[in-house]
Each structure stands twice: as C-alpha cells, then as structure tokens.
C-alpha cells in the first residue's frame, strides 16, 4: 500500500518538476543507483526535496526517504499520515531528545536512500546557511555509506519561503562525486561548505560556457 502511494506521489511530483518547472541535470552518473546512500543538497525551497526525489527512477520511489523537521511536517494527524506514507518523510527532531537521528538511521539500516539537507532549514536564497551537525553524526554511525552532494540552482527563486505557487522556471542541477564526510567537528562544516561552493561555481560556469562561440 505504502509502495503504491509513494509511486503515485513520485508521478505527481514529476508532473511539477518536469513539466511545470523543467530542469537540466549535470553529473547524473554520480547519483546513487541503490542504497544505502545519503543525498545532500543546498536548501532554499520546498521544491528542493521534490526535485531531488524526482531525479530517481519511479520504481525506486518506495526506497527513498526525505529527512524533514518533525515540528514542521509532523504536526497534526493528517499531516503526519501524508508525510510518512505518501511523501516518505522521516522526522528529525530539531529540539534534540534521546535520539533525534533515530528514524534517519533506520532508513540507512534498511539499505535505503536518505535525502538530507545539511543546513537543516531553508535559508535566504542563494546563501548557504550554517551546517548542522546531523550529517556528521550519521557519517560517524555509517562510515561506509557514501554521501552524494547535489547543488540546486533556481528553486529558491521559483518557490521561496512563504509562497505556495511555484513560478515556472528551469532549474539547474549539478551532482558531485560521492564522498565520505569528515567526522571531525572543526573540519566537517568547512568541508561541506567548500564542496557546495565548488559545485555552485561549476554550475554557473557551465551556464556561461564558451561565450565567444556562436552565441
């Protein structure tokens, strides 16, 4: 039942991301083909998770989970049902507690793919916010699980915070090579930040490529 819901959800999401928005994808060969794996991205918009979700084939939809703030997406019964069974969200408590990463860790234990936003929240458009330690803790618990970084250019403009209809825009997506994050408290945030800076530079350079050609 859940699997059917998730596949249907994947189809609906694709209508939005492929027809309403549309995207160009670079580095598709770096995307994990099976779990366990973690996919991380910069976060500016609710569209981010939907776009990442639609990068994977529909048959994989039931095995993809999206880490989401427990207080935001899991408040109220209808919300909770839709979040867990249709969208495939796993709650992460932002207030701490005994094991805030428990549900996310369970996803990796089951050998599935986890989508995670290291910033933990949608920041200002095109600005990378503070890197939260969640990913580092997961990396320490699952040292053998590869992390695939994805840079998203455009969703923050299409559907910024506080709006509910996405403006149709083409999204540029750049997938980087999988890596294993540092578990060091000091090194980790800088590592993630440098990685996304270079993906961002690649994306923008790709758009401007060979300007002296037959523009």
């Amino acid at each position: 039942m859940d699997a059917v819901c998730r596949k249907l959800f994947a189809v609906v999401v694709r209508i939005v991301t492929v027809f309403w928005l549309g995207y160009s994808l670079r580095g598709a060969e770096h995307l994990p083909r099976r779990g366990p794996a973690i996919v991380i991205a910069n976060h500016n918009s609710h569209l981010d998770a939907l776009i990442l979700f639609s990068l994977f084939p529909i048959r994989l939809a039931p095995s993809i989970s999206i880490a989401a703030a427990a207080d935001y997406f899991f408040s109220g019964r209808i919300h909770r049902f839709l979040a867990a069974h249709v969208a495939g969200l796993v709650p992460i408590s932002r207030r701490g507690g005994k094991d805030p990463l428990g549900p996310a860790a369970a996803v990796l234990h089951r050998g599935n793919i986890l989508i995670l936003f290291p910033e933990g929240t949608r920041g200002a458009p095109d600005v990378m916010g503070d890197i939260k330690p969640g990913l580092r803790h997961l990396a320490r618990r699952f040292p053998q699980v590869p992390v695939c970084p994805v840079y998203l250019h455009g969703p923050g403009r299409s559907l910024p915070r506080g709006s509910w209809i996405p403006v149709p825009l083409f999204i540029d997506i750049c997938v980087g090579a999988p890596f294993f994050p540092s578990t060091d408290k000091e090194v980790f945030p800088a590592q993630i930040r440098t990685l996304f800076d270079s993906l961002r530079a690649q994306t923008l350079a790709g758009l401007a490529a060979e300007q002296d050609d037959d523009a």
Binding site: S24, G154, P160, V167, L169, F170, A209, E210, D214
Partner: protein, 308 residues
C-alpha cells in the same frame, strides 16, 4: 488541399535520408559526427512537433503552439534576473499565455492584437507597484514585458496565421496552415542558409561584439537563398505572386537575421551562451525560435495587409 501533407512527407523523408547518409558516410572518427547527428535528430523532433501543429484539427495546433510559448517564456524568465517581490506579476504573465492563444483560436483579432501590448502592458506594472518597491522597478517591468512581447505575443502570430480563412492563390486554394508552413520553412531555410554561407565564405563579421560568427557573406547568401526559395514556394503555399513572394523572402531573410542577433545580444547581456538545454545540439528552445520572434509578426502583417 493535398500539397501540404505531401510536402511534409517529403521533408520527413529528407530528414531521415540525411540522417542515414551522415551516419553511413561520415567516418566514425570525425569529431563533429556526433554533434551533426544530434542536430539532425533534434530537427527530426522539431519536425514531429510541427506535424500536428500544421495538420491536426483545432484546438490542438493552438495548444501545442501555446506550449511552445510557455517553454520559450520560461527560458526567458530563467535567464533574466528578477526581484523576489515580483513573483505574482510573473504568475499573471504566465496566465496570459493560454489567453493569447485563445484569442488567436477564436479569431478575435482586436483582442489578440492589443491584449499584451495594451492590457498587460498596463496590468503587470500595476501588479508590481502594489509590491511597493521602487528600486529596480523600471528594469523589472521592462524585462518582463519584453519577454512577453517576444516569446508570447510575437510567436502567437503563428497561431493567428492558422486562423486565417482559405484564399485563392496562384495555384489553387491556400489555407492558414500552408501560410504557417511557408513562414516556418522560409525562416528555417534562412537560418540554415546563413549558417552554411557563413561557414563557406564568411570573412567579414557584421556585429563582432554581439555575434562574432555572423558574417556579411552569410547574411547576404542567406537572404539570397531565402528569396529564391520564397519565389519558388510562395505562390504554392500563399496568395503571393512570385515577385511578391521574392520580396517576402528578402523580408524574412533580413528580419530572421535581426531576430537572431537581438536574442544573441540578450544572451550576451545576461552572460549565457545558450538559452537552455531543451534541444540537444541546438541549445534552448529560444535559440531555435529567435528568428521567428521577428519573422512571425512581420510575415503575418504582410499577408494580412495584402490579402485579408
């Protein structure tokens, strides 16, 4: 009216034959082989898109052309910088696309011709001013409206050509679809001919800062080739006499070039090479439609003024 389907079938076969010839004759080691094949394949896809536009019953041609405008406008909006507070104006501008094609499908000429240049020209800045930010206001309204005028208003003249009633031509009845076919064929022939003449003989750049590969030789060769093609095909697909068709070909040659370099200047201004990645080997959809943004309204008004 069997001329149009027969011609389209011939073009389809021609694209297929060229693809097979390139595949078989060009050595596998040739560096440009894959690029040429990709380009031809994309031409094939464009051709397949145009078949229902030219042959399917209403409303499908209008729906498909509206979709094309949607993609072109989306590319334009993606390229140009925008202010966050103008989101709603953008959404309203998108709503104008189906309406503009509806007016074309209804043959409501008065509404079709003033909807974007007058009503939206006044409405969109009104919506933007309600956001209350004067900083960057002129740039934002001008960019949005320019995008609508080129990708929606100009291109929608293709749809209105389809709505024109049948007329007697020199060699039998011509329909709106055959007029649209003539416009598309001549515009694309002009693009290709300018490219080929430029590659073969190009020496003197026309606009080195805007588009360094556009040469005077390519431009003149393109206009000449298009004029000849127009004189031959014009009388078959439109009410134009051979001489008038020749002049129409010259018009399409010059305006196609202008549309092309104007869009190049826009891309250069915002700092991108291609407008997108929708058409493999060609760039974005705007890269293919740039000439049509100029030729479509001008060809339409030429025909409309002379015969309707």
């Amino acid at each position: 009216m069997t001329l149009l389907p027969v011609t389209l079938a011939l073009i389809g076969i021609l694209i297929g034959v060229i693809w097979v010839l390139v595949r078989c004759l060009l050595p596998t080691a040739s560096p440009s082989r894959e690029e040429i094949l990709t380009r031809i394949r994309t031409w094939g896809l464009i051709f397949l898109f145009l078949l229902p536009v030219l042959l399917a019953p209403s409303p499908w041609p209008y729906v498909l052309l509206g979709l094309m405008s949607f993609l072109a406008f989306k590319e334009f909006i993606t390229l140009t910088p925008a202010r966050r507070q103008d989101r709603w104006a953008f959404l309203w501008a998108y709503i104008a696309i189906p309406l503009q094609y509806l007016w074309a499908g209804m043959s409501w000429y008065g509404m079709f011709i003033i909807f974007i240049p007058v009503y939206l020209f006044l409405f969109l800045p009104s919506r933007m001013v309600l956001a209350g930010h004067p900083k960057g206001f002129l740039r934002a309204t001008a960019t949005l409206h320019w995008g609508l005028m080129t990708t929606v208003y100009s291109l929608s003249h293709m749809a209105y050509l389809l709505s024109l009633p049948d007329r007697a031509g020199p060699y039998g009845t011509v329909s709106g679809a055959s007029l649209l076919f003539l416009l598309l064929f001549l515009t694309e022939i002009n693009d290709v001919a300018q490219f080929v003449w430029g590659k073969a003989l190009g020496r003197h750049a026309v606009l080195p800062l805007v588009s360094p590969r556009k040469t005077l030789e390519g431009l003149l060769g393109g206009i000449g080739s298009t004029a000849v093609a127009a004189a031959l095909l014009g009388p078959l697909f439109s009410p134009l006499s051979p001489l008038r068709a020749l002049l129409a070909g010259v018009l399409i040659g010059i305006c196609g070039f202008l549309g092309d370099v104007v869009m190049s200047a826009v891309k250069r201004d915002v700092g991108v090479k291609d407008s997108g990645t929708l058409l493999p080997g060609h760039g974005g959809i705007l890269d293919r439609l740039d000439s049509l943004t100029f030729t479509a309204p001008l060809f339409f008004h030429l025909i409309f003024y002379l015969y309707y």
